[in-house]
Point group: C2
Chain length 201, copies 2
């Protein structure tokens, strides 16, 4: 019997997934969470074989949870199920020792298959993802550039961004200009789009 905790912020999807996976004879859903912090607590308490989690959730992301579990040597293996096919997410997931990465585009049956594969010590990466990761390359941004870009995305001016991250406005301009150049965009807005699309923000 494979014991499973599921974390997913959309209650409807969580409920549906839990119910369907519960029908599988060899799977048992022992816990559910609707945010990252609850998921982490639940995994620590229940020590399931597998944590099946979304990435985008209130509080900790699924990747944050995976990283936390990895760093404390938890025996629970993590499978990520997410909406977004973004190369950067996959890269970060791999770094957090995530064993499975599926898209919500996939049929439900695939989830059960992936859970079994990962429980058996194998990996399960959606093929579309694997291909995309190949030709996407690594995140070219530095931490500072990422910070600046995240704020620029919200419409803040150089001056305001500078105040928030404790740099001078001129440096912020330089960073954003540099980021746009790296990402092949003409300005901060385009740079933000590209970075977000690739899962680099």
């Amino acid at each position: 019997m494979i014991r499973l905790v599921i974390a997913e912020d959309q209650a409807m999807v969580l409920g549906a997934l839990a119910t369907l996976l519960g029908f599988e004879p060899d799977l048992e859903v022992v816990g559910r969470a609707t945010d990252g912090d609850a998921a982490l607590a639940l995994v620590r308490e229940l020590r399931p074989d597998i944590l099946l989690t979304d990435i985008e959730m209130p509080g900790m992301t699924g990747i944050d949870v995976a990283r936390a579990l990895a760093s404390e040597g938890s025996s629970t293996r993590v499978v990520i199920v997410t909406t977004f096919a973004r190369a950067g997410y996959l890269a970060r997931a791999r770094a957090a020792d995530v064993r499975g990465y599926l898209l919500k585009d996939a049929p439900v049956e695939e989830v059960a298959g992936a859970v079994r594969a990962v429980a058996a010590g194998r990996r399960a990466i959606a093929p579309a993802l694997a291909a995309m990761a190949w030709d996407a390359g690594a995140d070219p941004l530095t931490d500072r550039e990422r910070d600046a870009l995240r704020l620029a995305e919200q419409g803040l001016s150089n001056k305001e961004i500078a105040r928030r991250i404790g740099l001078s406005p001129g440096t912020v301009r330089n960073y954003l200009s540099e980021a746009a150049a790296k990402l092949g965009a003409g300005n901060r807005v385009g740079a933000g789009r590209v970075a977000r699309l690739n899962g680099w923000l």
Copy 2:
């Protein structure tokens, strides 16, 4: 027996929903679609009692489909299930004669309830949504402002936006400035954020 077509672009969610609703004794899922155009074709062909649809899908949105059905006097009633609690979406849905509007945050059971209510001629609006629509007010943007904002969001310059929508760059500046003022933002980026958050884009 209530006959149902479900449209939803995430195959996993579509499958889960269809399976679970199929278990309800009084509901029958007669068709599934993963994009708006397919959903419209399917509804025309099968004439179900209810179309349960997401908003954001490739091709036509769920609201577009609802509008098309309403304009051709279809007897199929539309229930929307979506991720986003955006007042503008709800307003447009109402204008398209949509009878139910739920969030994926809600538990699965609510969907069956809403489908039954709508099939019986009643309405079903998620309470959180109803409240939000109340204090959100109407979309303050003109069509031109919306067009310009949509392009500005992607990082295009005034000149490029002007070329695409056939106006002069100066006018585009005026529109974006006006839009930002209406939305209480300091610049086009902030204006884009606010508009998107409210479902006005």
